[in-house]
Symmetry: C2
């Protein structure tokens, strides 16, 4: 890169603004819908982050639409709505766009044949969304206890009718599932390889981070030497569904997330305003690291700062 | 690439020769040592490939040194010598260079502190080689049955004294080990990330291929977003040890293998002659695919062709 290019690049990247009473008020007036990531924004594991219910309530009272866009594929939309309810927050299924739902919708809009099957390296959420969309899922938690037999004359059989493999976060990942997915992708002609997302890690519990779907997806890439179709953030695939439901322009939406490479990039790819929070995986120092080239419009500590800054 | 560059590139790649009575005799005269890969060359799973004992015997009778260089880290050198014996072939431990041994040697030559520990995502072979080299290994098969608890207030603890993580082929891969390895690499200052190899698949059984170490290594790359130090083929790290043992020049060695991206590349990187066999993962059509840019000096169906071509 020469000096001229460097200057041009620098000129096109606006410096992120720390959220303040003034720009928080501007943001509130200029958007109709807030899109929230969940892990690290709304909760950590099963624990709500401070001030979340009050913040969401305030935004609803001001007529804002709320949407929850999560890459965590372990639950279906129905299961997420239930989780919100358990945590004391009323959210409808229609307001939730999970990557498990995205995987099923990807197959639907691409006319995936009903007679074909889908092998799942992942958890219950993907299987439930596949079933709701009318597809036959195999694998998932059921295969979590299966062992392999590395013995002479033992042939590991796989279903030749599997036409797609969906890989998401899977705490029951094992060699059986890896071999099953690998055989389908390598040997079934035209078999699709779909990743719910590629998050490296996530707050599966309140106290620490754990390997994310990016770990399982990489494993299957490693054995198949193929790259997946990604349906979760930062892919904008879910935005199409969201726009059908909520009749507003993406420029009047704000994506709120804790990850630069998924949430903020998704927001930017879709043409939304973006707000980064430090209540999840990203720290202020990683935002300001010279190697980081994803800059949100705004950043703040946690979403309840909106409440305090707006004096609501 | 412009036309000139294309021509230059084409000019530097010699066309591989099908093994014939004439060039087989030339090859035999011009080398002192044959380096054999094992999976897909000597055996598939636990089954010997046709004509192997007779071929090795003929080469020994002609005074050739035989060396076995395997990326499969599930066994130690001692365990490999035993496997050869079970299959009716006499091979000494000193003739075997496995990636499990390479991992232990890498730590040794780099003065890895004895008070530090090594976490293993892999099988018995790595742990045994670590122990023989005087290091303390953790993990491995023992952690294959451990489960994780994704519950509030549960903290997954890891040993802060782990200074290296070694990842190899692991048929007992699970989320526990992936989290353990990830925490060590991300949180223990200076922790090394060593891969025995990155083979996508391998003949773990005679009837089919299975995910190789490349699958487990990719999973850990996916969660840590770090790249490993590779000690197995195509890295030439093992060649240093081999040369210390066998006093010959690499130009008088021939590497025989079934994989282009590990065996043949290792041979070329080391300055050896190279012979590709089709008894393992590579087919003639993948050798001749225009996207393949790794060309061996010679190719043939299986190593016993040497026997037939030489009329021995």
């Amino acid at each position: 890169m020469n000096d001229h290019e460097k200057n041009c690049k620098a000129a096109t990247i606006a410096t992120p603004q720390l959220l303040s009473p003034q720009n928080a008020a501007d943001l509130l007036h200029s958007v109709d819908a807030f899109l929230f990531d969940c892990d690290g924004v709304i909760w950590k594991g099963d624990k709500l982050i401070d001030g979340v219910p009050q913040t969401l309530e305030m935004l609803r009272s001001k007529g804002k639409k709320l949407v929850f866009v999560t890459n965590n594929s372990t639950k279906s939309r129905r299961q997420y709505a239930k989780k919100f309810q358990t945590l004391g927050i009323e959210v409808s299924e229609e307001e939730i766009f999970s990557s498990s739902f995205a995987a099923a919708m990807f197959l639907k809009v691409n006319d995936f044949p009903r007679e074909k099957k889908v092998y799942v390296v992942g958890e219950e959420g993907i299987l439930e969304e596949l079933e709701l969309a009318g597809f036959t899922g195999l694998g998932g938690p059921e295969d979590g206890k299966k062992m392999v037999q590395l013995k002479p004359n033992c042939l590991f059989e796989h279903d030749k009718d599997v036409g797609a493999v969906v890989v998401g976060l899977d705490q029951y990942i094992n060699y059986y599932k890896l071999q099953y997915a690998t055989l389908c992708i390598r040997e079934n002609p035209g078999c699709l390889f779909i990743a719910t997302n590629r998050d490296a890690v996530g707050h599966m519990t309140d106290l620490q981070e754990w390997p994310g779907a990016g770990c399982m997806v990489a494993a299957v890439c490693g054995s198949t030497q193929k790259e997946p179709i990604v349906v979760g953030k930062p892919s904008t695939f879910m935005m199409e569904f969201l726009l059908k439901k909520f009749h507003t322009n993406t420029s009047r939406m704000c994506m709120v997330g804790d990850r630069l490479d998924t949430d903020i990039l998704f927001g930017q790819n879709s043409g939304c305003r973006t707000l980064l929070v430090f209540s999840g995986v990203t720290t202020q120092s990683s935002l300001q690291d010279p190697t980081n080239d994803i800059q949100p419009d705004y950043y703040t500590s946690k979403i309840s700062d909106l409440l305090n800054l707006l004096g609501a």
